[in-house]
């Protein structure tokens, strides 16, 4: 793509459309930490000769998180709200050498796009889903999300969220994903390692990243500075090894369990489909 050339000053600059900076994200937002972890993982894999970044297809839906697709210098798309997964699936099945990554928000992926999420996991569709969970609909100004803790004030639940939050890890596990992990922006190195491990795998891979949205989530519930929300998150997350995804509690009041909950190597959907078609 024709872009104004800028000197490469940061190790991951080559994966960015740097001429688009500055980005839209607020100070203290966790999306940048997550995206940085992703690009570092890609860089390490590419430097080790294990991946060709020109095959990465980086797809987002709509939301603050969804804006990521426009900043990265990969093939990609900014699809309608909730539709990143089926879009990536179509591209991958039409061109199996692509490496699809869906990078999007919790509302996008398990709210409006929840059905696609379940069925892609059920098919073990070849896609790495990086779900940035900021517990809120951020781009639209702080409405309740499927991940919002029960009882929380949001602009559409001014008397407290009556809904129980969704646990994306359990849903992916119930549907049959190959790889399932949950990390948080408090642990970017572990997140990067997890992405690095999951990206070259086949099948459906979910990495949920518990993030912070200091402006639209934190401030509304009394955290005056980003660091306060960050510290609150730090307190509630607990890393646990070797537990089942069904034990991966997601509870903002008690504990949010981080870790790698499922690592399987069942054949991905692309391969299964091509095998089935061979007998046609």
């Amino acid at each position: 793509m024709a872009v104004a050339k800028r000197p490469i000053i940061h190790p991951v600059d080559k994966y960015l459309r740097t001429e688009r900076l500055p980005h839209v994200w607020c100070p203290g937002c966790g999306i940048g930490i997550t995206l940085h972890a992703f690009m570092r993982a890609v860089k390490e894999l590419e430097d080790e000769g294990r991946i060709d970044s020109s095959k990465i297809l980086f797809v987002s839906g709509i939301g603050c998180t969804g804006r990521a697709a426009g900043y990265v210098n990969f093939d990609g798309a900014h699809t309608p709200h909730g539709r990143a997964i089926p879009y990536a699936m179509g591209a991958k099945l039409a061109r199996p050498d692509l490496i699809p990554v869906v990078f999007s928000g919790d509302g996008d992926l398990v709210g409006i796009g929840g059905n696609h999420f379940i069925h892609a996991a059920r098919r073990n569709m070849d896609v790495l889903v990086i779900l940035v969970n900021n517990m809120i609909y951020a781009l639209t100004g702080g409405q309740v999300a499927p991940t919002t803790p029960k009882g929380t004030y949001t602009t559409t639940t001014p008397f407290g969220n009556p809904d129980r939050p969704i646990n994306a890890v359990k849903i992916a596990a119930a549907a049959g994903a190959n790889y399932i992990a949950r990390w948080a922006v408090t642990h970017p190195e572990l997140l990067k390692n997890s992405i690095k491990k999951a990206l070259p795998m086949e099948g459906f891979r979910l990495i949920e990243v518990v993030s912070i949205c200091p402006e639209i989530f934190g401030r509304h519930i009394g955290f005056r500075a980003p660091i306060e929300l960050y510290r609150r998150l730090q307190k509630v997350v607990k890393i646990r090894g070797k537990i089942s995804p069904f034990e991966a509690t997601y509870d903002w009041e008690k504990e949010i369990i981080l870790g790698e909950f499922q690592v399987r190597n069942e054949p991905g959907y692309t391969r299964v489909l091509m095998e089935a078609f061979k007998h046609g």
Partner: protein
């Protein structure tokens, strides 16, 4: 020149499926719905054998987005559905138009609104085909009236989609898709098969949304080093979101104008006895078959009836319509809804009365059914 093997005895769903195969379809995603399912089932048996990919998705929203993604990955991609499923695709029809993804959508119209009568015919999706999604964008809709045309026009639908990078809708109906007829399965070079323009410059110089003189930008394919970003937001030539009046205006105009300036490859219609027609009928799809029978019988009795049958519904060949209507005293639009194509015909013809003959039967109307509605104007 036609050999035995080139002749099929097919319904319009199967004929359209054969047309898609001739046009080179290699990606299909769909969700079952009457009366479109047997098109899907037909392709499900055939496409894998020819190296294509065909899948049933969790819903029509997934299907339409999957074919848009597949299209950007280089595939000739399609789906087929009926009104309820078409409605679910609404948002992403606009997405396809916005990111200029060549795709073909077959809408086998059934009785509506809502779930309507799943096993009965209708033509209530005329305006839906044009204005399904929000915002202003261009789209093409073609309407066959026989299995042969279903075959031919599916090839044409792919050709237009590829050449203009627009979504193309094939509007069929319940009667057509369940009527078996003889179809000659023309193959290249007898039929032309077109593919999209590819970039003629290296990735460093490529601007994915910069149009050529025909207003259509060359299209890169994912995975070939172009690092192309497909943006659903308003975007400039680079595909970058910008909120500038000039960029927005140029983009929105171009999404429609590229069809207008290339209309010679789109416009299509058939006229029957229009030269001296005093009563001009306008009808499309299976309804036009009953109307044609009325016109032929009238001619046998010396009555000067004629029929204008648009094949491209969106856009319609309005110049040809005006010309066909030159000698007419009255124009009667016959359609199986309560006045949709009528609105377009009435908009175009300003100097003589245009009447609507709405046919709200559940089966294909007989010529007598139609005559009964029209008698007061004849």
């Amino acid at each position: 020149m036609s050999r035995e093997a080139d002749i099929g005895f097919l319904n319009s769903n199967h004929a359209a499926a054969e047309g898609a195969l001739t046009a080179g379809v290699n990606f299909y995603a769909g969700y079952p719905i009457t009366p479109a399912s047997d098109l899907f089932e037909y392709l499900a048996r055939k496409m894998p054998k020819q190296g294509g990919v065909i899948i049933q998705t969790e819903d029509e929203i997934a299907a339409i987005n999957a074919i848009i993604g597949a299209s950007w990955a280089g595939a000739k991609a399609m789906t087929a559905t009926s009104g309820p499923g078409f409605s679910l695709m609404a948002e992403s029809i606009g997405f396809a138009a916005m990111v200029e993804a060549p795709i073909v959508i077959i809408d086998d119209m059934r009785t509506g609104p809502s779930t309507g009568v799943a096993t009965a015919t209708g033509q209530g999706d005329v305006m839906q085909a044009r204005w399904l999604s929000h915002g202003h964008y261009g789209i093409v809709a073609l309407a066959p009236f026989s299995a042969q045309e279903a075959y031919d026009l599916t090839i044409k639908a792919f050709n237009i989609a590829e050449r203009l990078r627009v979504p193309v809708v094939l509007l069929m109906d319940y009667v057509l898709v369940h009527t078996r007829e003889k179809v000659r399965l023309k193959k290249p070079p007898e039929v032309e098969v077109w593919s999209r323009k590819k970039p003629r410059v290296p990735p460093e110089e490529y601007l994915p949304f910069k149009p050529d003189e025909d207003l259509v930008p060359p299209m890169a394919t994912y995975g070939e080093g172009y690092r192309v970003f497909v943006e659903s937001l308003v975007h400039d030539y680079r595909g970058y979101y910008v909120t500038r009046d000039d960029v927005y205006e140029e983009l929105v105009k171009r999404l429609s104008d590229k069809i207008t300036v290339n209309k010679h490859i789109v416009l299509d219609h058939v006229e029957y006895y229009t030269d001296d027609a005093e009563i001009l009928f306008v009808a499309f799809g299976s309804t036009a078959r009953s109307v044609l029978s009325i016109v032929r019988h009238a001619r046998a009795r010396g009555l000067k009836y004629g029929l204008f049958r648009p094949i491209s519904i969106w856009p319609m060949d309005t110049d040809a319509l005006l010309k066909a209507a030159e000698n007419a005293r009255k124009i009667i639009v016959v359609e199986m809804n309560y006045g949709q194509l009528f609105l377009e015909v009435d908009r175009v013809i300003k100097d003589k009365p245009v009447y609507l003959a709405p046919i709200l039967t559940l089966d294909l109307p007989t010529p007598e059914n139609i005559l009964e509605v029209c008698r007061k104007w004849l």
